[in-house]
Symmetry: C2
Subunit: 403 residues, 2 copies
């Protein structure tokens, strides 16, 4: 029998990145395609220590059903940490533990979006979340990224047009720090402007900050959530890049009026997140040197990003442009205006190097992009040097062939 798939899901295809992830597991391919944090940054010894201790001394505490909202001590630790570090107000806000940042986006969309509502996204944007929004029947409209963050003029014009056309816009999705896929960090001015515009048009904001702790250059910029005076920002963080991705532990901060709906949404979805890893996160944050650990991760990424950018400067055709990431895991390179990066990426795979074409990150899946995303966190130094050289040679061939 042919099973009919729901309208929302019928036209949704797998993330190009997750598919490439499989290709990238071929050890002969140099992969700049994934989004994996460096295994060097995992505090493996301490994870093993904490797990062994609790599984020996009090196993039932981490094996029985837990609370939907999360493990209470971890929630308290995170509230204290975020109040001090980001100035969040937990008189007004609540914090739930979620099963990775992806679930933060899923629950947010579930409670806010009716089918046919518009979700605004940065363009390009993290495809995993674009698919989450699509899976609820949202119409996605992309707002172009500039080198200092989202194009706020385009944001305001688009909102004006959509409002005039009677469209219901629910929220803006943004990664203001070390954005995936571009590596761009939005300036404080732009963040304030984004907040002002969303306030003016009365839309919500989903601020996704999975890389926030991984700043290895430049000055800290306040989160949009810290500017939130009227409870319109849902803020999502993750332990995927600060502890380990397979924990599947993240957190969502939101106005207390949303506690009921988020709670029901979480119950409907996976009841609660796994307890052992919540316990490990809390022990590690409170009994070990969390800041030294983060500093170590930053050192790893500072080195790797620096190496990749230096090598790109050396090997890439001068007409290929790119920024200089101050944190996170990614940089996006752009072929000359008008060129489609997709066939370029296909050819680079033939030559043994994997990266992701920018078109994977667009709201409109039919559009083309001259960008391609490079991940510097998981490849080794040798792979970065060798892989960028191969890509660099290809940029020369490619651009000169087209010229």
């Amino acid at each position: 029998m042919a099973v009919e798939i729901s309208k929302k899901m019928a036209n949704l295809h797998g993330s190009m990145i997750r598919e490439l992830f499989k290709l990238g597991s071929d050890p002969s391919v140099i992969s700049f395609g994934g989004g994996n944090p460096s295994v060097e940054t995992f505090p493996t010894k301490e994870i093993e220590e904490i797990a062994a201790q609790v599984l020996t001394d009090n196993p039932v505490s981490v094996l029985q059903y837990g609370l939907t909202e999360g493990y209470t001590p971890l929630r308290e630790t995170l509230k204290k940490y975020l109040a001090e570090k980001e100035g969040f107000d937990f008189e007004k806000n609540d914090l739930f533990i979620v099963s990775g940042g992806q679930q933060g986006a899923d629950l947010t969309t579930k409670i806010l979006v009716n089918e046919g509502d518009v979700v605004l996204t940065e363009e390009p944007a993290f495809v995993g979340c674009l698919n989450t929004f699509r899976s609820y029947g949202a119409k996605l409209i992309g707002i172009p990224m500039q080198m200092d963050g989202i194009d706020t003029e385009a944001l305001e014009n688009t909102l004006k047009k959509l409002t005039d056309a009677g469209e219901k816009v629910r929220f803006l999705y943004t990664i203001p720090s070390f954005q995936n896929p571009t590596g761009i960090t939005s300036t404080e001015e732009k963040r304030r402007e984004v907040y002002r515009i969303c306030q003016k048009y009365d839309i919500m904001i989903l601020e996704d900050n999975p890389y926030g702790e991984l700043r290895f250059a430049g000055q800290n910029v306040p989160t949009i959530k810290s500017m939130d005076t009227d409870g319109r920002v849902l803020y999502c963080g993750s332990f995927s890049k600060t502890m380990a991705p397979a924990f599947r532990i993240g957190f969502l901060v939101f106005d207390k009026s949303l506690t009921g709906p988020i709670s029901v949404a979480k119950q409907c979805t996976d009841v609660h997140s796994n307890v052992l890893f919540q316990y490990i996160c809390n022990e590690y944050m409170t009994k070990y040197d969390w800041n030294a650990h983060l500093e170590n991760s930053r050192n790893v990424y500072r080195h790797k990003a620096g190496l990749m950018i230096d090598k790109m400067k050396e090997c890439f055709h001068p007409e290929v442009s790119y920024g200089n990431p101050e944190g996170g895991l990614f940089v996006m390179a752009f072929l000359p205006e008008g060129m489609d990066a997709y066939p370029f990426v296909r050819e680079s795979i033939n030559r043994g190097v994997l990266c992701v074409p920018g078109s994977a990150f667009l709201a409109d899946t039919e559009s083309k992009s001259n960008g391609f995303r490079l991940n510097y966190s998981s490849p080794s130094d040798e792979q970065i040097e060798k892989g960028i050289k191969i890509l660099g040679d290809l940029t020369y061939e490619w651009i000169e062939k087209k010229a």
Copy 2:
């Protein structure tokens, strides 16, 4: 600001059980309210052993991002196990690891249900999944349970009426073995009849089997999935009751034509399930004595169920009726026809005993029920004896007061 909640979620309230779960954590209350497996059944020593071994020898293998479909060795182990034990055909079917049985229901609903579609459920049925279906805007219609399974005549009549009225019915949700909340096991005849009817009206079946391994009396009955000749059954299993609930590991078996949509749905939701616990499940199933472990759990539940039923026979008013569960964690007792169990349960909480009113498990949340669900897996023997005595005294007071 007042945030507008999506239509699907705006009228959805927290599971009464999850709320009671909080009340039940007061140590002075005897709780028959939860659905927790007995901590005696957790293989804690072995979990600790396996976790310590992998986190020492090969930590990265269980800490880095994993595959959406699940940890390959566990998927292979489960396929082999289910092919042998249940006769599933993995030429035609696929198996994904999910984040607990709840996510199996969530992904199924996401890929199958459009807003306004009908989902048929047993009445009463597991409220966690009812809320999942509601969260996608499904219209729920309950089909009454009888002591040998769902009322198949009512099922066929309802399907006929709905079809004649032009309603789109997507699937039937059923727990054929040791149902939550009633404890009822459907006979093989009824299962075949359910399949025949669903085939006739061309609707899918979500067969939820979280308690299947916990049969402590009677003869094994084939799963509906084992009767599935045309790929209309999605079958959901879980390690929550055979390993530990906080693992958040379950599995979903479905026709291979659904692999694409299920894969995208899983990516959109939480990317993948936590890898360490997938690893532990696989090691435990393959290198330890899985059958002896299950037999031990069955012994625990056989004893506890027997104790509770014996005590109910001794203490409950003779007009209170109930079945004799052959497995699982629950039994439902029914006050005389026409009585509402809700005020009875409220009064029992005042007296220090928690159970769940049957109305929590109805498709129509406004309906009343004369049933109340009792869980025998988590209370101690002393609590079962003391708590059933208190409830029994209350049944006499209650029924004689109303007489």
